[in-house]
């Protein structure tokens, strides 16, 4: 059994998600190789080679992989797939984009967002916004899997895999990357932050989110949001936590002015400690909160900032 993990990175640094996917991949048994496809990715390859459990890193350094668009990346993965029993990627927007494309080209029914590996062919995955957990056994000879990274610990950095350069696959040339508008922030990324403070519609404006920023800065936290807050334009789309946004599981999640809809809970209910601040004591968010404060957020949040010193 040999598994190919597709690395998640930005050409400069390896994303933490990859170390978690490697942990899931080692649970399949057998060898784990990592594919780093990108442009100017020597540092990424070196970081991948350090992950415990990885025996080989394949590096495809080519302009067509610079943005990891689905068509060329899927073509590359398919060209390598003959040597592998399983292909595993993080359930990030990159993984969700290319993996099903590769799976279809291989005539494989992908298994999306696994949260547990029962055996090399049997996995647990959430359905219905995490309100049910399905155990599925794949009958395909080859597996294509995406991994929900919050449920797997990161592999240690104690490895020393070999690094092998490989050529690019033929570029399908179907699309062209034009531009990217990435949210700049000095705070930790949502999916790897230990503490998250999220705001909902109750925040009333983007300006009011600065109240949460101040607390985030004191706690070293990331700032998230509900869909309603994103839809209203208070914060950018990449803040959204939930069934169709980001799934997070920090040590501490503070929900401010968020009602607790099923779709929001789906993205944060595996957090270790949940705090809810809401003026409506009936809000469903209190049903999952370890500590609930029924209060007007416009009083409670500044008071919280003060109290944190």
């Amino acid at each position: 059994m040999t598994t190919l993990v597709i690395a998640e990175h930005n050409n400069q640094a390896l994303n933490d998600a990859t170390a978690k996917v490697v942990t899931a991949a080692t649970k399949l048994g057998g060898d784990v190789h990592v594919l780093v496809a990108g442009q100017g990715v020597d540092a990424v390859a070196a970081a991948a080679a350090k992950l415990a459990g990885v025996s080989k890193v394949l590096v495809a350094d080519d302009a067509q992989y610079a943005h990891r668009t689905a068509e060329p990346l899927a073509a590359l993965v398919v060209s390598l797939a003959g040597s592998y029993d399983a292909i595993v990627a993080a359930a990030t927007t990159v993984g969700k984009n290319f993996a099903p494309r590769a799976a279809a080209l291989l005539d494989v029914q992908q298994i999306s967002e696994i949260i547990e590996v029962d055996s090399a062919d049997t996995f647990k995955r959430p359905i219905y916004a995490g309100n049910a957990i399905q155990t599925v056994k794949s009958t395909d000879a080859k597996k294509v899997i995406t991994v929900r990274t919050t449920t797997f610990p990161a592999a240690a950095q104690t490895g020393s895999a070999s690094i092998e350069k490989i050529g690019a696959a033929a570029n399908p040339g179907l699309s062209e990357w034009v531009s990217e508008n990435l949210t700049k922030s000095d705070r930790p990324e949502l999916t790897s932050a230990k503490i998250i403070i999220s705001g909902g519609r109750g925040m009333q404006s983007g300006d009011n989110f600065h109240m949460l920023d101040k607390i985030a800065d004191k706690l070293g936290a990331a700032v998230g949001a509900s869909r309603a807050a994103v839809d209203a334009g208070f914060v950018p789309n990449d803040y959204q936590v939930g069934q169709t946004g980001k799934v997070v599981a920090p040590e501490l999640y503070i929900a401010v002015g968020i009602s607790g809809a099923i779709q929001h809970l789906a993205g944060m209910k595996d957090s270790k400690v949940i705090v809810a601040i809401n003026k409506d004591e009936e809000a469903p968010i209190f049903q999952v909160a370890d500590y609930g404060l029924v209060a007007d957020l416009f009083q409670a949040v500044p008071a919280l900032e003060q109290e944190l010193g």
């Binding site: 943005h67 279809a104 219905y128 957990i133």
Partner: protein
Amino acid sequence: MKVLVPVKRVVDYNVKIRVKSDQTGVDLANVKMSMNPFDEIAIEEAVRLKEAGKATEVIAVSIGVAQSTETIRTALAMGADRGILVKSDETVEPLAVAKILKAIVEAEKPDLVVLGKQAIDDDSNQTGQMLAALLGWPQGTFASKVEFEGDKLLLTREIDGGLQTLKLNMPAVITTDLRLNEPRYASLPNIMKAKKKPIDEKTPADYGVDVTARLQVLKVTEPPQRQAGIKVESVEQLVAKLKEAGVIG
């Protein structure tokens, strides 16, 4: 330009589902069913293209049980021109759905297929990508803006770090994200009109697609439930509790 929109009948997003006690699945008896919310966005986008004079015809397709006709009728009431129901009482997995859609694309020759990014029942997020693969077409997933530039499609996508813009060759497959548009409610006259619009009925066999499941569902269980917590009286008490729990310094 002809536009094809696959629409799935799913448990309404407001319903809190229950897992069956024998662990064979989710209880769907007497549960409100609706069109997958992302597919409403897909229909809306297609209908807007038609209203803008860019699309000539919008075809809604649903694969599933007979009642999926209702989902197609909703799409027709929103402005789609005709429907195709591919009837199956078995669960059809994304790969098989994509194969059926590929056959429909080959028969109907649309220039654009607009799908939802994810069905909120299976949460797979696969079908559009798989269809694009099988057709050898480009894919624009998680779209928040769709524009045309000459014979290309300029598509803005929601990605983990923010937004990305791609230029796609046509024909293309796109999948919708939440902020692409706000779907309309069908008006009563349009609901009446939709009743007269044609719906073709087919089966997977008509398209030569084997829908045998590749994933065997061994069991479906409840997720672990969180313990009910406590209400704190003040911000001071909250901070004290969090320090006690060791989650803040």
